[in-house]
Subunit: 340 residues, 2 copies
Amino acid sequence: MKEYNIALIGKGIVGTCFLNLLNKKINEISLKYEQKIKIVAIFEKDGALIREDGINIEEFANKECNFKNRNFWYDNLKAIEKIGDLELDLIVETTPTNMKTGEPAFSHIMKALENGIDVITSNKAPFYLYPDKIKNQAKKNNCFVRIEATVASCVPCIAMKEVLCSNEIIGIRAILNGTSNYILSRMTSEGLSFEMALKEAKEHGYAESDSTLDIDGYDAAGKLVILANELMGLSKTINDVKIKGISRITPQAIELARGDGLIIKPLAMVEENSLIVEPRLIKKESPLNINGTLNIIELQTKNAGPIILMGHGAGGYEAASALMNDLYYILKERNKTNVN
Amino acid sequence: MKEYNIALIGKGIVGTCFLNLLNKKINEISLKYEQKIKIVAIFEKDGALIREDGINIEEFANKECNFKNRNFWYDNLKAIEKIGDLELDLIVETTPTNMKTGEPAFSHIMKALENGIDVITSNKAPFYLYPDKIKNQAKKNNCFVRIEATVASCVPCIAMKEVLCSNEIIGIRAILNGTSNYILSRMTSEGLSFEMALKEAKEHGYAESDSTLDIDGYDAAGKLVILANELMGLSKTINDVKIKGISRITPQAIELARGDGLIIKPLAMVEENSLIVEPRLIKKESPLNINGTLNIIELQTKNAGPIILMGHGAGGYEAASALMNDLYYILKERNKTNVN
């Protein structure tokens, strides 16, 4: 059976969940795609576990498992130095990545592509900052780059490009940031001030300690760029998005809207090829009126009106399940190429 | 360029919309898949238009266009007699079909498959009545049978089998019949009786003159069978569904539920491999609480919680756009086989 070599770069929550799912799927994959999956490297920020005959996935899928000072552990070895030297079919890029620079994910992805290695990732920043660079490099070396996990996590919105292949997508309205939606939902249902709702969101773990990029719309804007590029064939970056956050919304404004049967929601939209993230009034009965931390994506199609997708937009297993679907996709496509 | 021969069987609303979309896409298809699409036959119940060098699609895409007494029109020629004689790559089956017998669609589909011809269809009855017969025949002759249009029309729920390929679907809750949902929605919002709401639905064109199969749950049950078989790998028929309609729901029952923050919805469900269609209480805040004629499908996934799809569940162009996506899928897959 052909061997299929993977390097996992970044073993945080998503990376660990991915290893867990992979561990459960190993036999299914070998039956379905006739490939023997091996994890040959796991890179962390202070070193790497390298084992070309395959790391014991079950052992390292454990969240608490400590890598360091083990056999096959190399202190301070960086992914960027090693990617090109390993015999790899795929990298799974799940490092903590800077939202403004896209690093280190961007460099890892480019390095992999330069070496003809396929990529799956949950890191979105490289794709709203440098979409064309990645696309061109992937095309040049005939590589797959699958990024379903970058937008709305497990919700298969990017796959809609293939699924609705004959049906042009002409507009998008979405709620892509759970934190903002949670805050506005609580302000609406409980009459809380913005500050109180934010505090509550942090207490419940729905907002991080620094949630600036959620609240000011940057996070949603990045995801919107990816949707617009992938689904509508645009070539935008985050600099093309008109962004307005939710921090100036007051309980009074919400009350005023309510009087007219309207709700304020943190929308991300593509309207006539313009990308906009801002709080917008929608009708109370609109399907977009969802509460809590769900994500929702409404695709306006040319031939069949709106098609809507919804689900959990965050979470380790949610993102890992999107990565896993991308892995299956690549295995299937590569298998076809190899068989024929 | 290779020629690709299609027969359209049944030129009603859906068939006519399909011709219209196809007419607009002809050039795109030949560029993308290097196939010259020809419609070589259009079958109606009282005869057929047959032209092996290709029918003028633009002319016949017109809804009002009368076929009969034209050149190439053959009075009383039946699809079932002719399918095997034509050089066909695909049939598009959109005849008015009996919901209890699956005919004439079932015979057309089997005939096509026996002759090695791929099938796309919007007719669901064959697939909740004789799923295994169709599946086995398709497998035997290596044919594609794509049926996205049979459930929730344009909403790409059946495609989820491929999209969520690594993520097992372990349960389904859905609203698959727009008529029933419209009636219960109006009873809930306006306090109408069942009879009044049904009358209104008929006046608005949301219910047909005989809407028995909508109201008694049979239509939703058929769609549920298809989802369960396609997405969960089951092998059910409509006889396996426990079905209860909505006609006994009273305004009093709705009022009682409302007091507890609950709503009565016409749900179709797969729970622990049992198929059930019946009115159920759901929370007012549930994403399944949609109004009007929208369809919604909640897929409970093993690894990522619920994933929800929503959209127009009926309409000529909605169904035709699903057929068109299926056509693209088959062209793509057949192209791969041919190229390699």
